[in-house]
């Protein structure tokens, strides 16, 4: 089972890419781990069912199989046609509907595919202005939520099941008892829906004394509050990142965790596009304490603790604002950033040099003052109207996040305040007994309200609670903390609902249902209309009514609105605004300079998890299993901490490797007397003396998927410390048995130039740098074994290929979930991920790199990182094919490396021989069993299950597995009917979305009929997009016909940055990458380190000794 990796010239100097701490540490365990083809457990049978037992069972199975052959005719199956033929429906032809998913205030416009009435795949709506059809991983994964067997399925009253009609009757009867609305309080989530706003107004008119409160545990809307104050009118900022030449982000992960990330990525990627060496490239600066995707993509990254972020911003302001705007308080705030003066000076110089094309962004964690400051800076830079514009909006609620650290609690309400209160005010009203009827629409305040509000107790003081929720969760009725009376209503999924929403630029989009509510779900609009006693109360009528005011009375306009998925020309237009610095001074005056963190008093950053969000996606298996883009952790959060701090605290570990599993220190984090415990994760590039805690895990009452995942960081989070806190301490608990499942250390690339990059300056000198960066020359010029399919490839009608631009790819992971959804890829559970058995066909490899010649300690301080999507390369000379004993994997005429599942016998030779490690093996029937040890490992022969002998159940229905019947019915609904659902013992991998290619070819032939025009062409729009390509908001993935010289993939492959991964193996991949180009600023203090990006450096220092500009790769120490 051992493979000896070919000796690869390890550069003496230059950066080393390393995948994990163990890799860096080069521990014997890690060496052993790398040299094994599969990690332990991934390839051996060390499971409870021993080999001997297995043989026994198998021989028994064969006996039974022998008995069974007498009846080897297929079982009788029935066809059920319609009784009455529906109009406009052809069985087997998918239908597409435009709809939208609300995020927080905004929405992602979507087009959703429906097969036989069940939604199966979500895509972005490409028809909106500026849209490229890209989405994000949260939108892609939202379809799984629809079919979640753990979602709330019935109305309950005080925990007991109730009739839906009874619930609706109760709601409509409520309005008569409410009087003027005093004692009625609503707790809502943020939403910009025109219909909801209309209903709210109508209800407010009917019940003027009703209280409205909005709560988002992670509020991404502070920019709106700040803009409304700074301009004394309700406006919200709209960033045009594609116009920005220089962007400075202050703890602002606009790529990963801000609102409208998909649109941000799309616009950012436009600035990173390089066609030739003469193109300009935008530059990104990041100042941050965590290592985020934005930091990963930044050309310069300043790693500072959270307290310093504000100081750096203040110092930027001092350098950029006119002297009249600078007061002593600002200078005082800026003082701690003295140490970073050279960095800030250079950054300011770059911003000023690009005035009008530069942009400064502040993240949601920063307080109101920072957002006001950023507006002032953007004003000073002349950015308004160019890189940022202001759109009119509904009045913003008061800003909650006003203080950086524990400081003045509340007391001043911004002038632009609407009538919406905060959750803290609602808690106060509840405690004062002022709320008789509390209506909670969405959200989960019992889980995620600030801990000092004591929300569960406050909620219990309401007379009656009406709660609309997607799950039976913490906020649902419970015996322990029950209020007078509580109704829990199941919320409808957005694919089951009528509604409307607005996109980032204010365009009105419809939300239309593709399926009847599966479990009788109710929408927010319906509840509001019933409580308000409004007519009509059907959500369709409500939305239709709202649309009359927006788009006119005509039925055609309405139909067009639903068909197109947006209302044309409804985007907000920029307004001219007059900046008023008074609010800024006031807010700055409120801020307290933060103390610098130390070993005893650590800073804490509470952050929005890239997958769980605020906890709402907790029961989504696709997202739980999606590796975090930076840490590559699945199924857990962790206490992120820098290596240096971990050493100081005595919790540093090279991973405690036992039985090939990674175990981590369990630590206690104490903040203001509250304590939580979680496993430590050493995060390279994190600020020292800072603890990063992801929110959204550690749920107490959730579905089966989310139960047991991570720890709950909300328990430390109070109103004063919503995002940052100081004075935390970390203590080792002595328990180091917690296992984290990560994909990080898997598939080490052994230091070869897998990701190739250079700086813009070097790129202009040597545009072909990537092609000359070869680790070694091939030992022979032709493959050892001629590929028998070489001949076949010459007469294929198309030749498929793909190109991935690493300069545009930001690592957002939308492609991974899109692929999972399109290709029926199962999740495997934490235990299996721990054994490297995850099934993702496309993964994002993340490599860290550090300057040459630094010590191990130094290397982990401030590394650069790169990401690379890795999927089947569709090698023309594929190593997997020649070793398959049953020809299950082979080439087709069009250059695809295809996998025939029904031929596969599961030898796994192909995976052994794949240099890219992109093949995935079904160790179990993940589709048919609950993903726990007990069920996955069970043999049909050995045990009874829920009163039914497994073998008997298996004989009755071999398809179903031991999923409960209802769950099995649900699980089937989400599957793409065009892709085989693979069973145990079958190898699988990326197919370049073969099903889409074949469907496109079939469509062309059906259209051609008796003509010969059957070739797909990009010009005619008949070439399909792969799922990853379609979902990619950055447009980094290009797929198409390489035999068509006009196709965009041919053009991409002609670019000078093109290279192939591991090309010296002569596998001739059909997938090529475009190398990455960083754009460091020459005036920067660290430019000397960055000027020769590490890869170029590497070649100039030995491996590539002819230097930059050489046409031919030089002779070097080949094996």
């Amino acid at each position: 089972m051992k493979t000896i990796p070919p000796i690869c010239a390890e550069p003496e100097t230059g950066p080393k890419y390393w995948r994990s701490l163990d890799h860096l540490a080069e521990t014997p365990e890690f060496r052993q781990w790398v040299e094994r083809e599969f990690p332990s457990g991934a390839s051996e049978c060390t499971d409870p069912v021993s080999r001997r037992n297995f043989v026994k069972i198998m021989s028994a199975s064969f006996l039974l199989a022998g008995l069974g052959t007498t009846g080897c005719r297929r079982p009788v199956e029935h066809i059920y046609p319609f009784a009455k033929m529906p109009d406009n429906y052809v069985h087997g032809v998918p239908q597409f509907f435009a709809t939208a998913m609300t995020t927080r205030r905004k929405a992602v416009p979507l087009v959703v595919k429906s097969n036989e009435g069940r939604p199966t795949k979500i895509e972005g709506n490409p028809d909106l202005t500026g849209s490229n059809g890209g989405t994000d991983h949260l939108a892609q994964a939202s379809i799984l939520r629809l079919y979640d067997p753990d979602r709330a399925m019935r109305c309950t009253r005080d925990g007991a099941g109730a009739n839906k009609q009874a619930a609706l009757d109760y709601l409509s009867g409520l309005s008569a008892t409410l009087g003027d609305g005093s004692g009625l309080a609503f707790l809502l989530e943020q939403n910009d829906s025109p219909s909801r706003a209309r209903l709210q107004q109508a209800i407010a008119a009917k019940f003027p004394a009703a209280r409205w409160h909005v709560f988002e545990p992670i509020d991404l809307d502070l920019g709106r509050a700040a803009a409304s104050l700074a301009y004394s009118s309700p406006v919200e900022p709209f960033y045009k990142l594609d116009q920005a030449q220089v962007t400075v982000c202050l703890d602002c992960d606009f790529i990963g965790s801000e609102e409208n990330a998909y649109a941000n990525i799309r616009d950012f990627a436009k600035g990173r596009e390089l066609q030739s060496k003469d193109d300009s490239l935008s530059r990104l600066y990041a100042v941050e304490s965590l290592f985020t995707l934005t930091g990963l993509n930044a050309d310069h990254r300043l790693r500072v603790p959270p307290s310093m972020v504000m100081a750096v911003l203040a110092r930027l302001a001092v350098n950029l604002l006119s002297s009249s705007d600078i007061d002593s308080k600002l200078n005082e705030l800026a003082a701690p950033a003295q140490a970073h003066e050279p960095w800030i000076t250079a950054c300011v110089k770059d911003l000023k040099a690009n005035a009008g094309k530069s942009l400064v962004l502040a993240g949601y964690r920063l307080p109101l003052a920072a957002h006001l400051l950023v507006i002032a800076i953007n004003e000073a830079l002349g950015a308004i109207g160019h890189t940022v514009e202001f759109h009119p909006t509904a009045a913003a609620p008061p800003a909650v996040n006003r203080v950086f650290y524990s400081g003045p609690k509340a007391g001043y309400h911004p002038t632009a305040a609407s009538n919406e209160g905060t959750v803290a005010e609602l808690a106060a009203a509840l405690n004062a007994g002022q709320v008789k009827t509390l209506v909670i629409l969405g959200g989960n305040p019992v889980y995620n309200a600030p801990v000092d509000l004591n929300w569960p107790q406050a909620q219990a003081k309401a007379g009656t609670v009406v709660r609309l929720g997607y799950y039976q969760d913490e906020t649902s009725w419970s015996e322990a903390a029950h209020p007078g009376s509580q109704w829990d209503l199941p919320m409808a999924h957005y694919l089951e609902s009528w509604g409307d929403a607005r996109t980032a630029d204010g365009t009105v989009v419809p939300i239309q249902p593709l399926i009847e509510p599966l479990f009788g779900g109710i929408t927010e609009l319906e509840v509001l209309a019933l409580i308000g006693g409004l007519t009509p109360s059907s959500p369709y009528e409500i939305v239709r009514e709202t649309f009359r005011a927006l788009g006119g009375d005509s039925e055609n306009n309405w139909r067009k609105f639903l068909h197109d998925g947006f209302l044309a020309a409804s985007a907000a237009s920029a307004v001219t605004v007059q900046h008023d610095p008074a609010e800024l001074k006031r807010a700055i005056g409120e801020l307290k300079a933060a103390p610098a963190p130390s070993k005893e008093a650590l800073d804490v950053v509470f952050y929005r998890d890239s997958k769980m969000d605020d906890g709402r996606n907790n029961n989504n298996g696709w997202l739980q299993e999606l590796p975090d883009p930076i840490t590559k952790l699945t199924w857990d959060n962790a206490v992120l901490i820098s290596a240096a701090t971990a050493r100081e605290l005595g919790v540093f570990t090279d991973r405690n490797v036992q039985n090939q599993k990674f175990f981590n220190f369990q630590v206690e984090v104490t903040l203001n007397g509250r304590t939580i415990s979680g496993p430590v994760w050493i995060q390279p590039g994190m600020a020292d003396h800072t603890v990063g805690l992801a929110l959204g895990y550690g749920r107490e009452k959730t579905g089966r998927v989310g139960t047991g995942a991570g720890f709950d960081a909300y328990k430390l989070r109070s109103s004063e410390n919503m995002y940052y806190a100081s004075g935390a301490s970390v203590k080792d608990t002595g328990n180091n048995s917690y296992e984290l499942a990560t994909t990080q250390s898997h598939w080490s690339m052994e230091g070869r130039p897998v990701v190739r990059e250079t700086s813009l300056e070097q790129y202009r000198k040597n545009p072909k740098f990537a092609q000359t960066m070869k680790p070694e020359d091939p030992p022979v010029t032709a493959p050892l074994y001629p590929n028998p399919f070489d001949a076949a490839k010459t007469h294929g009608m198309h030749q498929w290929g793909m190109s991935i631009d690493l300069n545009r790819c930001v690592g957002c992971s939308a492609c991974m979930i899109a692929c999972q959804s399109e290709n029926n890829i199962p999740i495997v559970g934490k235990e299996m991920v721990g054994k490297s058995r995850e099934m993702h066909w496309i993964r994002l490899d993340r490599y860290y790199a550090s300057p040459a010649g630094t010590t191990d300690e130094k290397r982990m301080e401030d590394p650069q990182a790169v990401v690379q999507p890795m999927l089947c390369q569709h090698c023309e000379s594929a190593p997997c094919e020649s070793v398959c004993p049953v020809n299950a994997t082979s080439h087709d005429d069009e250059g695809l490396n295809v996998m025939t599942y029904n031929r596969c016998v599961g030898t796994r030779y192909c995976s052994n021989n794949c240099p890219y490690k992109v093949r995935r093996f079904n160790f179990f029937d993940y589709n048919r069993h609950p993903l726990d040890h007990k069920h996955l490992y069970r043999s049909p022969l050995v045990s009874a299950h829920e009163g039914e002998w497994e073998l008997l159940r298996w004989l009755q229905n071999p398809d179903k597995g031991d999923l409960p019947e209802g769950e099995w019915q649900l699980a089937k609904l989400i599957k793409n009917p065009d892709v085989t659902v693979r069973m145990r013992g079958v190898m699988e991998k990326c197919t370049f979305c073969l099903q889409r290619i074949e469907q496109a070819k079939i469509a062309a032939k059906v259209k051609a009929r008796d003509s010969d025009h059957i070739r797909l062409s990009e010009k005619e729009g008949t070439v399909p997009k792969t799922a990853c390509q379609q979902a990619c908001p950055a447009g980094a993935i290009v797929f198409g016909d390489t035999s068509d010289p006009e196709s965009s993939v041919s053009k991409a492959k002609e670019q000078e940055r093109t290279y192939k991964v591991l090309e010296f193996l002569l596998t001739k991949p059909r997938l090529t990458y475009l190398a990455r180009v960083r754009n460091p600023y020459p005036e920067m203090p660290d430019y000397k380190e960055h000027s020769l990006p590490y890869t170029t450096d590497e070649f100039n220092n030995g491996a590539f000794n002819e230097g930059v500009g050489a046409e031919e790769p030089a002779e070097k120490g080949a094996p």
Binding site: T69, C72, R73, R74, V76, E77, H78, I79, Y80, P81, F82, A83, K84, M85, V90, H91, G92, V93, M797, S890, D892, D893, E894, L896, V898, T900, Y901, N902, R903, D978, V979, T980, V981, T991, L994, Q995, E998, I1002, K1005, V1006, A1008, R1009, D1010, S1011, D1012, H1013, I1014
Partner: protein, 222 residues
Amino acid sequence: MSDIFPKWTNQLPRQIIIGALLAGTAVTAGVTYYFTPKYTAVGYEPIQPVPFPHSVHVKQLGLDCRYCHNAVEKSWYSNIPAASVCLNCHNQVLKDDPRLAVVRDSAASGRPVEWVQIHKMPDYVYFNHSVHVNRGVSCVECHGQINDMQEVYRAKPLSMSYCLDCHRQPATRLRPLDKITDLDWKPTDDARELAAKQLETGTKIIHDWNVQSLQNCSTCHR
């Protein structure tokens, strides 16, 4: 002391070897024939809930296949008609016939008629009707002379080798598009010239329509 092994046991090894060979041959031959779709599937003629005679509707009345199976040119799947489609005629013709009671019940109640599936592909085979009937492959190639069948039975094995026979030599089966649903069509009535004439027709179609002989695994398996 007598021999433990009597003399006849000397023959035993030879007999065993020959016997084993014979048995092996028999088993192999048996499996080769009896386990193939030719034996297990061809001729499968289940009893349907409605005794629908294709021969009457197609042969005698001249209904086109696509009147009932109207999705065949658009979808991967050729639909079984809805009960309402049957009643288009049968609310006039044989409107009280007891054989049609199931169909009338279905149309009235909305519950589907439970037809028994005869032609079934395994789940890992992605067969598309529309691309075949739009590119010169007649219904008859896979379904046999349905127009002559009183009760439908499976006429062809529909095994992988059966598919490949045609995919390897499409010229032997292709026909003009207006003859797709004409199940009795032959390129010529002269039995001796039939094969040559078919080959000629097919070759011309292959050339004019750019028909490909698709033998990639990916053509059917995804």
